[in-house]
Subunit: 368 residues, 2 copies
């Protein structure tokens, strides 16, 4: 399945901050076919550093999508049954409008003149995209991590336009620890002189700072146990300790490699904006409590967490489930056993496939 | 109790790497009085960023020591009974010889010409200090985190010279996750152009890189729960979200403050060398197994871990205890309940005081 990224363009979008972006573009891909009733559409929501290329082989790069193990014929999100949509988030750097986009007022990249965005803003742009495809009501929205936040936001903001939501390995409000890890990443980027207050688009990007930020991220995505299994204390290309500051351990070389690779595909300013959007995310804000926020929600839920995920620990999913249950909302919850930590929703998908497939089948059956 | 730091100087020390440092100095403090039999001496071993000032009020700064809640008259380490010693580690920057010390061969600071050091090297210098004080056998060695590694190393290297060891919140071998967090700190420092390959002593230190490294450290020292209790999602001097990149949350301001404060008291190159010493620490190395390493150990042990410590999780202490138990070694183990994470051994000391006090009393009673 060779897929191509498409682009939708809208005149403007009003943001939660009060600012307005005009114009605004959104990059997206689709897989499978929309049925005549337009009732089989599922929107996939990507995590922090994801993009619109969720499945299939990209025409441009030849690479598989980030959730190709979950989306395709016969897979959890079965493209023989469902019409799948995935778009790059607002503020991103993979085709949708973000800080690297040209500001029409100046003819230069927005950089830090880009308005601060929220998860709500991302979802509002997704709604514009879904509307433009002629889809009134999504069968489901689904995503892990920051994608899960968007799934929750969809259910709260557009209760009449989404039948089911699948928030995975996520939270209803970013915790101080989650904010703290994001803040370290931001500080690492902004401490790099090449960041130049965000104005690096005509010069060198803040590669070292962004690499350090990504290294922190990777540690939090794995578990203590999965790191032990993957790396142990194995030495890198050395028979004994080097007694110097070259790479000694495989885990060091892995992190340096992942950090340096990230620089080639991600914009540092997008890192700042998207991480802030995560940190601002708090579904209890405004209403005062999660129960009040969920008062108007009509969506059915499948909430999934992973046992070894310490970045978005199961208790955060359970907080959501408890509130929904108390409202007698239709909610299924699975804490799946996995050693893979937060990354589990991307890599340890056997059981996740079973529960998602079953949930979608019953949702399609019971759909009003 | 006003205390002053003293300095001991030795001609040279041979290091595990094969290198030799000459001369070598060690900064230390003592509290309480050594008895006539010289049988009541306890060596306190500090953690990563600690120093010789463990207790009392420093003559130089007016500040209390880092374990003043544990050391003093009537406290866990009762200075009415015991003669306490604490020294700054080799490679440190608080009086003992380290990368900022003058290399006698060049007349300039060692910087990265400083030899790589190990936990074993730190302990060997401590042994020289203890010998110079005329103490043949320590009643106990005690410390948390990297201090606990030194306590274990003492018991293994000098079985005839230490009656009891109290390793707290520590491990017998640094895990890939622990190495990974240290590596992020090192990369943050080395990514700062002001680091200048370590030659910054005549100019600006790599303050931004070191601050980022310290921020990562602080997150790992706390627990998810203690961060929620301490900060919640409280906003900093703002009534609502700023929708900009100034500080929004108290946790951000706390981390930035602690990061910037650290720069005033810690040398970035010491960060590199000491973190590498931690990463090299592996008591199974050489012998092949912890059981073989502990074969000659005669020390009695009190091993302490804390329930919410995810940086040095209780299972790492239990690994040590299990091996000692299997050898029928005298070992007591307490996993103390605490929400404070790794910091618990420094701040949540009520129960720790009780178990240490009882253990020391029985050690003094049963001392051969």
């Amino acid at each position: 399945m060779i897929v191509e990224t498409q682009l939708a363009r809208f005149d403007s979008i009003a943001l939660e901050s009060g600012a307005c972006l005009a114009p605004v573009e959104v990059a997206y891909q689709t897989y499978g076919s929309l049925n005549a009733a337009k009732s089989n559409a599922i929107l996939i929501l990507h995590a922090f550093s994801g993009d619109a290329h969720a499945a299939g082989i990209a025409h441009e790069t030849g690479k598989p999508g980030w959730w190709d193990n979950m989306i395709g014929p016969g897979k959890a999100f079965d493209t023989d049954k469902y019409f799948m949509i995935c778009s790059n988030v607002l503020g991103g750097c993979q085709g949708s409008t973000g800080p690297a986009s040209i500001n029409p007022e100046t003819g230069c990249p927005y950089a830090m003149a880009f308005p601060v965005i929220t998860i709500g803003d991302m979802v509002r742009l997704q709604k514009m995209l879904v509307d433009s495809l002629g889809i009134t009501r999504l069968l489901a929205v689904a995503g892990g991590s920051m994608g899960g936040m968007q799934a929750l936001e969809w259910a709260v903001t557009y209760p009449d336009h989404v039948v089911a939501a699948i928030p995975i390995a996520t939270t209803a409000r970013h915790s101080p620890q989650q904010i703290a890890f994001n803040e370290v990443g931001r500080q690492a980027i902004m401490a790099d002189p090449d960041w130049s207050e965000g104005n690096y688009y005509s010069g060198k990007p803040p590669a070292r700072g962004l690499a350090v930020a990504r290294m922190v991220g990777h540690i939090t995505y794995m578990s203590d146990e999965s790191m032990r299994e993957k790396f142990g204390r194995r030495l890198r290309e050395k028979e004994k300790f080097g007694f110097d500051f070259s790479v000694d351990f495989e885990v060091e070389s892995y992190l340096r490699y992942r950090g340096s690779q990230f620089v080639n595909r991600f914009d540092a300013n997008s890192y700042l904006y998207i991480s802030k959007a995560e940190d601002y995310f708090d579904l209890t804000q405004g209403s005062g409590s999660l129960a009040d926020t969920f008062a108007g929600v009509k969506t059915r839920f499948l909430v999934i967490s992973f046992s070894s995920d310490w970045l978005y620990p199961p208790y955060q999913s359970q907080d959501i489930v408890r509130v929904l249950r108390r409202r007698n909302q239709d909610v299924a919850y699975c804490e799946l056993p996995s050693n893979y930590g937060h990354d589990a929703f991307l890599v340890d998908v056997a059981e996740q496939t079973d529960v998602v497939r079953g949930f979608l089948a019953s949702t399609a059956r019971e759909r009003v």
